[in-house]
Symmetry: none
Subunit: 219 residues, 2 copies
DNA sequence: GCGAAAATACCCGGATCCGGGGATGGCGCC
DNA sequence: GGCGCCATCCCCGGATCCGGGTATTTTCGC
């Protein structure tokens, strides 16, 4: 049973080209090709569920309603339908807005027919086709987000309970004398704890220790 | 010229298996295989830049220092080296923590040798190899984040461009003398910039400055 | 009871940081 | 031309940090 696919592309000649390119593949069937997001939503409203596409190829640059806005509305009303964005070239801000609108794939318009069909199949099977640069951008986005807290059971950098306590005071920017008073121990003891912490974190200064602590959510 | 690759895997038999599997491919060369994150960092410290690996295959489950912690330290000290995480099965929380530690690839340990080498080549060319489920998880993460706000026109804490530059070097844990050399200015100049930065961030030490910079994402 | 790890404490000398202040020149704006 | 801001440079003295070690006691699991 071929996967029913819809295409949203405002240029008629390009719609024709896509129709021809997909026509040679038995695994997919272009059952709908429209020129705008509005038209897609209108048509979907008239189709019974069995006749709806499972995957939509959505041009990101559409007149009036953008492909991103159309994707958001589509996913709102038909969450089971997967959307692959089509664009001429990759723009980072639009990649993220597409994904946040609910697209699960992102392809260049001039991708080969093989590539297109492979993407449709991958999406239909729960994947998320994207080019290498797009994947790297996603990683960078996740990397730049605030750190995801680690499960508490994972002992971070093998710090002992007392070392963790000292590290907390380091992050609070206390001097070693102040730490000693707060913990009721000798400043010499604090010094030794600090040296051991530095060794475990592979750092050579309290500023670096603070950074590792915050970046790895040790506290 | 084959890509120099390092492997961090605590089980000797698995290290041997990886060595054998990669041995048949002329595009990559396993130049280093160690049993722990600590050992990797130690070895890297003794290697000149030309002899360092370009890609590291990092077992996520390592005794003592975890693969994630090792990745964070590795990226801090050797940002040009790419890391591919190896795991037995995909755990969502570790995927994200791996990426936030700086990994750019994520593979199952039982991936075929072809898949492994393809991933190494992809990473080396700026890609981010991942399985379909992992890609879908990334998309879901991005989708679930609050919409990305436009960058504020207001510079945070009113730091001047030069002060921001100095702050970056502070976060990199350089001494004031090192900063002076890097920026081609006098250490006295760096000192004045540092004092001005402290005043604007309302802190009294570089550790506190690092903390404010990281917590407020000033860089 | 034993061994290992953790916690504690101490010393030394060098390096760096910190905060107080001062100064000059360039640049853009009024 | 004057003003304010930015970037630059300098000096001083005190405080703190850092890394090299060493040692003893306490705690905990076996």
């Amino acid at each position: 049973m071929p996967i029913p696919v819809a295409l949203v592309e405002d240029h008629a000649t390009l719609r024709q080209r896509f129709t021809e390119r997909l026509g040679f593949f038995p695994d997919v069937e272009l059952t709908l090709a429209v020129g705008s997001g509005e038209a897609l939503l209108d048509r979907l409203g008239t189709l019974p569920e069995a006749r709806r596409p499972r995957v939509v190829l959505m041009d990101i640059e559409l007149p009036q309603m953008s492909g991103i806005d159309a994707t958001a509305l589509l996913k709102r009303d038909y969450p089971a339908i997967d959307v692959i964005m089509l664009t001429v070239f990759e723009q980072e801000d639009k990649i993220f807005r597409s994904i946040q609108a609910g697209a699960v794939g992102y392809l260049l318009k001039d991708a080969s027919a093989d590539r297109l069909v492979a993407a449709i199949l991958e999406v239909d099977q729960g994947g998320a086709p994207m080019s290498a640069p797009v994947a790297r951008k996603l990683l960078r986005y996740v990397h730049d987000q605030p750190p995801t807290p680690a499960p508490a059971d994972d002992p971070p950098f093998e710090l002992t309970p007392r070392e963790t306590e000292v590290l907390e005071h380091i992050v609070q920017d206390e001097t070693e004398r102040e730490m000693a008073e707060a913990l009721h121990i000798s400043p010499h003891t604090v010094r030794t704890h600090v040296k051991n912490i530095y060794k475990k974190l592979h750092v050579h200064s309290r500023a670096a220790a603070v950074r590792v602590a915050l970046e790895n959510r040790l506290l």
